[in-house]
């Protein structure tokens, strides 16, 4: 199976869209290339189309042949595995069916497999080491073309924005065979297609540009060495234009908020672990600034957008440089494709775990809108009047919505946290940085009363542990909604609960459930189901396995004071055969 040519890439995307209509949307990029080619982007997703997005680019540099093939293979794998209910294995890396479904049900993946098809065509048919696009610049030979990855609107004018001796990797000479930046920022149709994706898909929060070859995994920034203590030293500040980009100097470092650096570093490390598991090649993680700064690159542009205009979503930018050469033998290319696929699945799992819908719909007879991107300071509600009509309110919740709800890793949890019969909205953060659980208590007429009760260990340490899922219920039967944490990766032996005290505060317990959590909950394919399974008025937690291997349904029954009684009742055919049939979904209720 040889390398894909540019026609095959487009046909492959179209055929995947046709074969998996419920899981995909084929989008047409608005700008045709200089040679008249039209590109498509394939959206993969089984859940809410407005849920968080991961944009994955390939083929920006023409001579890097493996990335577009890797993105087609990755897309085909995810779609087939989801459709048939399997997991995915790449060498020594393995992902469960539950991983696959969690990705496709929690996030949308946007595959832009070949950003620069004109260049790829020229590289594959004529000059193999061609890198740029095929813009006519008025000359022939190496005087054609623009480096797309120096054409984005991030410090694009490298002559004005960097220290003269920084050695910035860009050129204003159209005859530069590799790094000509183009006549203006965003001048190229290929660049504008990527910008169009970011402009028109505001739920995109992750941007991965797949290149080759070093190999290495890169995160922000590429303009200067990172620092997190001098917030005025940013790409936006022209006062530093004369000194930006020098290595190992003290005059300027590119500011990155410490929590953003933590997030991109840990996501990169997770990708690296997955890549390394395939065949032991340790790509390593580095900041995109290496020996020299870079201007106009896509990863920096994606991350910079929010800082240049806070009304835009924050998008974390990454680049993977895969494999060890631009054009390996196809046999070697297949191994690199497996590494890229494993790394991308790890990134998508990270995105899925941190996923927030841009607008979440709170269940009940009324509908509230909670925005999780910047720009709002209210919670609109449509109150059902019972005859098909709606009464609309738009009550203020400035800090709750304007600042807190759009923090990365925040999940919306609804319930009646004060027992007054009205639904309230809580925010549970699953990334480090918080030590409390804010609540917006509904006042019954569209207004909101905000609290921010402390839960230091529960939120500060436990809720942001990888693999932790949030489960709500009334675990002590007092009529107030409580929040429990069930970990589905190894390492815990208990179920922490934050019991609502009715006035915005929380009482924390951490009752033991050693086998239930330590062994059973982290089995691949296990789903968590809550309900009052013993009819005592307290919410219990059950585990239903949807992959083969079990014949029972374990339950942790709440004892009302934070403790758990464990049972493991047989359900041989129900679990052993039926629950793991592809396409089966759980729906619990009172059926008798």
């Amino acid at each position: 199976m040889p390398y894909l040519n540019v026609d095959e890439i487009e046909s492959a995307l179209e055929n995947l869209a046709a074969a998996y209509p419920d899981l995909t949307t084929l989008m047409t990029a608005p700008n045709t290339t200089h040679e008249g080619r039209t590109s498509h982007i394939l959206r993969l997703g089984a859940g809410d189309p407005s849920a968080d997005g991961v944009l994955i680019l390939g083929g920006m540099h023409a001579r890097e042949w493996v990335p577009p093939d890797a993105l087609i293979s990755f897309s085909a794998d995810l779609l087939e595995a989801h459709e048939t209910g399997t997991g995915l294995g790449y060498g020594g890396a393995a992902f469960s069916a539950a991983d696959v479904s969690s990705i496709l049900e929690s996030v949308n993946i946007f595959i832009f497999a070949c950003v620069n098809p004109d260049g790829r065509r020229f590289s594959q048919a004529s000059q193999a080491l061609w890198r740029k696009n095929r813009r006519p610049n008025g000359g022939g030979g190496s005087c054609l073309g623009v480096d797309i990855n120096r054409n984005f609107d991030f410090l694009w004018d490298h002559l004005a924005k960097f220290a003269p001796d920084s050695g910035v990797s860009a050129s204003d000479n159209p005859c530069d065979a590799n790094v000509y930046r183009g006549p203006a920022a965003g001048s190229e149709p290929e660049t504008r297609n990527v910008v169009w994706m970011l402009d028109n898909t505001p739920q995109i929060r992750w941007h991965m540009d797949v290149h080759s070859a070093v190999p290495v995994i890169l995160h922000s920034w590429g303009s200067d060495q990172n620092q997190s203590t001098q917030p005025t030293q940013t790409f936006l500040n022209t006062a530093f234009d004369a000194v930006r980009g020098r290595i190992n100097d003290t005059a300027y470092g590119e500011f990155i908020p410490a929590e953003d650096l933590d997030l991109v570093s840990s996501a990169s490390a997770r990708m690296n672990d997955a890549v390394k598991a395939v065949r032991g090649d340790n790509y390593g993680v580095e900041q995109a600034f290496g020996l020299y700064p870079t201007s106009g690159a896509s990863d920096d542009y994606a991350f910079a957008r929010h800082f240049a205009d806070p009304s835009r979503s924050k998008v974390y930018g990454f680049t993977v440089e895969c494999g060890h050469s631009f054009q390996p033998t196809w046999t070697e290319a297949e191994e690199v494709i497996k590494e890229v696929s494993a790394g991308l699945i790890a990134l998508c799992l990270e995105a899925a775990e941190l996923a927030v819908g841009s607008v979440s719909h709170v269940r009940g007879k009324d509908i509230a809108l909670v925005r999780q991107t910047p720009g709002w300071s209210t919670i609109p509600v449509a109150f059902s009047n019972g005859t098909g009509g709606w009464d609309i309110t738009n009550g203020a919740a400035p800090t709750f919505i304007g600042n807190w709800a759009n923090t990365p890793g925040v999940r919306i949890v609804t319930g009646d946290f004060n027992g007054n019969g009205l639904t309230d909205i809580a925010l549970v953060r699953q990334t480090p940085g918080w030590a409390s659980i804010p609540i917006a208590f509904a006042n019954g007429s569209g207004g909101w009363d905000i609290t921010n009760g402390a839960a230091p260990t529960f939120i500060g340490n436990w809720a942001n542990t990888p693999g932790v899922r949030i489960v709500t219920g009334d675990f002590n039967g007092n009529g107030l909604t409580d929040i429990a944490l069930v970990r589905q990766t190894p390492g815990w032996a208990s179920i922490p609960v934050a019991f609502a005290n009715g006035s915005g505060g929380w009482d924390i317990t951490n009752g033991a459930a050693p086998t239930f959590i330590g062994n059973w909950a982290n089995t691949p394919g296990v789903r968590i189901v809550t309900g009052d399974f013993n009819g005592n008025g307290l919410t219990d937690i059950a585990l239903v396995r949807q992959t083969p291997g079990w014949a029972s349904i374990p339950v942790a029954s709440s004892n009302g004071s934070g403790g758990w009684d464990i049972t493991n009742g047989a359900a041989a055919t129900f679990i052993g055969n039926w629950a793991n049939t592809p396409g089966v979904r759980l729906t619990n209720g009172d059926y008798r």
Partner: protein, 105 residues
């Protein structure tokens, strides 16, 4: 072009500063981003130059502090790989569904 092929080579040195001094002087193509990796005995970075410039780069002042290792004749490799590119369209028929390289397990 065939008279002066592009050579893919490694630059190794004990320190990043020694690599940078050399790349400052010879200005090679360093690929997408100029990223050096830690390696045994120091650091290594991949670079690309026409064969004639690679030869002359061995004589520059800062070459004394680095070692150069040729990996491949990238132009020659590229011409060979062009034979491994799909020549028609294996997905021309709508029913030809791409399959990935992952084990479905």
């Amino acid at each position: 072009m065939s008279e002066d092929p592009i050579i893919h080579f490694e630059i190794r040195a004990a320190t990043l500063a020694e690599i940078k001094e050399f790349t400052d002087e010879i200005q090679p193509d360093l690929g997408c981003r100029a990223i050096a990796r830690r390696a045994e005995g120091g650091f290594v970075i991949d670079a690309y130059l026409p064969e004639s410039r690679l030869q002359s780069s061995r004589d520059v002042r800062s070459a004394a502090n680095v070692s150069l290792h040729v990996l491949e004749n990238a132009s020659e490799v590229g011409r060979a790989r062009q034979q491994e590119v799909g020549s028609s369209n294996r997905y021309a028929a709508r029913g030809e569904i791409p399959r990935g390289l992952g084990r479905k397990e």
